[in-house]
């Protein structure tokens, strides 16, 4: 069973978000990067678990990005991916990434593609759907559980206010949310082995971009908190009703 896991590099969760060039570019100054948590904690780990339980096949981590992303890719190998591929190009849009991954998946006999439900920077949640359409396969999104038996997967998909449990035949694409797996911390052996695992760099396929981010803004913050004495909750209720019109 060959499992492909899409991994993205994102600013770490406490990174200060700022923009430069008159609000047209993300300011990377001082920003530390991590593997997108949904990709790392859930998608990657569950793919590794499934491969381990079948006892055959491999887990391939794929990333679209520059050579500086190799550190994040090596972490995926340290956690347990067998090999990695980096498409050597800037990941400028969801469709660009989806087309790179689809191109690789079509040529490499992939049974399932895993990815996080979204990246924590652009929050697009689009790559999974695009990839599924490009591959013309089912897309099970927001998966919090997946079991595979033979070539059939049973997947629990989180929907608003509940879950849908569905069955589909491989190949398919799964996006991972909390609950799909438990985070794995790479151990020393994993880190050493990761250095010897293959990380293949391949050129991108051409994509015509249809969207562009033309400017960024930081939303205006709150102007100041109005403190209410704990003895006077009637006043808080009055403010919420009359001033904030929230109740």
């Amino acid at each position: 069973m060959n499992l492909l896991v899409c991994i993205s590099k994102t600013p770490e969760t406490t990174a200060k978000i700022a923009f430069k060039e008159n609000g047209t570019q993300f300011d990377t100054d001082g920003v530390q990067y991590i593997m997108n948590p949904y990709d790392e904690w859930y998608a990657l780990v569950r793919a590794i678990e499934l491969k381990e339980s079948v006892g055959a096949g491999k887990v391939i981590a794929i990333n679209v990005g520059p050579p500086s992303n190799d550190i994040v890719i090596r972490k995926a190998l340290a956690i347990g991916a067998d090999e990695a591929v980096r498409v050597d190009a800037e990941a400028n849009s969801a469709s660009f990434v989806a087309k790179q991954v689809a191109s690789y998946a079509k040529d490499n006999n992939i049974d399932m593609v895993f990815l996080g439900k979204e990246t924590i920077d652009y929050n697009g949640s689009l790559v999974g759907g695009m990839l599924s359409e490009l591959l013309d396969v089912p897309y099970l999104s927001y998966a919090s559980n997946i079991e595979v038996s033979g070539n059939e997967a049973t997947v629990t998909c989180e929907i608003e206010g509940g879950v849908e449990i569905v069955k589909a035949t491989l190949p398919l694409v799964v996006s991972a949310t909390k609950g799909l797996a438990e985070q794995r911390i790479p151990n020393m052996r994993g880190i050493m082995m990761a250095k010897r695992k293959p990380l293949n760099v391949i050129p991108p396929v051409g994509v015509e971009e249809k969207e562009a981010i033309v400017s960024y803004q930081i939303p205006e913050g709150k102007t100041g908190v109005k403190l209410v004495d704990l003895e006077n909750m009637d006043e808080l209720v009055r403010l919420l009703h009359e001033e904030a019109k929230a109740i």
């Binding site: 920077d121 849908e164 969207e211 919420l240």
Partner: protein
């Protein structure tokens, strides 16, 4: 030309967020001088309610495979080509996001997910979307003949604009599904977090899971949905689906109560688009107070019962 809105009915009912996308589509169609067509799986009676929010033509289809986004993509795509639609509007929920990506490829369209306002169509076609889990907003320029937009919940205030509506049936029977539904489980009675207007959220300050009674009671009095911080979900005090924040659910309710939550940057990222924020914390230095509209400094086990009493008095008056 037309704007096509996909409005999902669940058991012949529409959620508030679905009415929002219909209104969004209606306003956009006015802006573009075109027609607002709504594709839906409701029955005739329930679907005609969509006219209240600006639907002009309703295309009604029947399907037992609403769980399959591959099948739905084919249905929506067929409606787009039959009606010459140039914009497709979806809800930005789990299904809408999956459909947005699929449709962008299927229709060779430009796409943005999680739009927070109507597009600016004066100079090109630009849409605002929330980024970095609410820490920033980006303006996306969409440059293709067809545009696909999923609209974030609570981005548009509902308004009844009443419209005469025509109802037609739409044949979706040619599109079969390869994904079978085993079971749907829904939590009954509460509004799901992404759609909730009132949210009561609690964190580690609660000290133990058995103390949640006052949170449930406060939520009950307000008619609010409960939420929690990440540490509380990770320790299993509360279910994962209640976790709001950067790695949980990002929400933007009308009113957000943060009780015993210090306000780590990752938590704030998921909730700072809430319209009004009330923070209750015994630590006056808690960072959350800087992001709040109203604050109460005090022991939550003292403050919350007092607040419940005041709210009960208010509701009774």
């Amino acid at each position: 030309m037309s704007v096509l809105v996909f409005a999902e009915a669940i058991k012949n009912q529409y959620k508030k967020s679905t009415f929002e996308v219909v209104l969004y589509g209606a306003r956009l169609s006015k802006q573009l001088g075109t027609e607002c067509i709504v594709l839906t799986n409701g029955n005739g009676d329930s679907a005609s309610n969509l006219g209240v929010y600006g639907a002009q033509k309703i295309l009604n289809f029947e399907s037992e495979n609403m769980h399959d986004n591959r099948m739905l993509t084919k249905v929506i795509s067929a409606a787009v080509s039959q009606n010459g639609s140039t914009v497709v509007i979806l809800s930005d929920n789990s299904k809408g996001k999956a459909l947005a990506g699929r449709l962008a490829i299927n229709l060779d369209a430009a796409v943005v997910s999680g739009a927070v306002a109507l597009p600016n169509t004066n100079d090109g076609f630009k849409v605002h979307k929330s980024l970095f889990s609410g820490k920033a907003v980006g303006s996306y320029s969409l440059n293709a003949d067809i545009k696909v937009i999923s609209v974030a919940g609570n981005s548009i205030g509902l308004e009844e604009i009443g419209q005469a509506v025509s109802l037609e049936s739409f044949d979706a029977s040619a599109h079969s599904s390869t994904v079978s539904l085993v079971e749907t489980k829904r939590v009954e009675g509460t509004v799901p977090l992404p759609e909730a207007e009132l949210v009561v959220s609690a964190g580690r300050g609660m000290k133990a899971p058995e103390n949640w009674g006052i949170i449930d009671e406060l939520a009950g009095v307000l008619g609010a949905t409960t939420a929690c911080s990440r540490p509380v979900a990770d320790t299993g005090w509360r279910p994962h689906h209640e976790h709001v924040g950067q790695t949980g659910i990002a929400i933007k309710p009308n009113l957000y109560f943060a009780i015993g939550i210090s306000g780590a940057i990752q938590h704030l990222a998921g909730v700072n688009n809430s319209k009004t924020i009330v923070v209750i914390n015994k630590d006056p230095e808690a960072p959350f107070f800087k992001a709040a509209d109203y604050g109460v400094v005090g022991d939550l086990f003292d403050v919350v019962p007092r607040l419940i009493e005041s709210l009960k008095k208010f509701k009774a008056s």
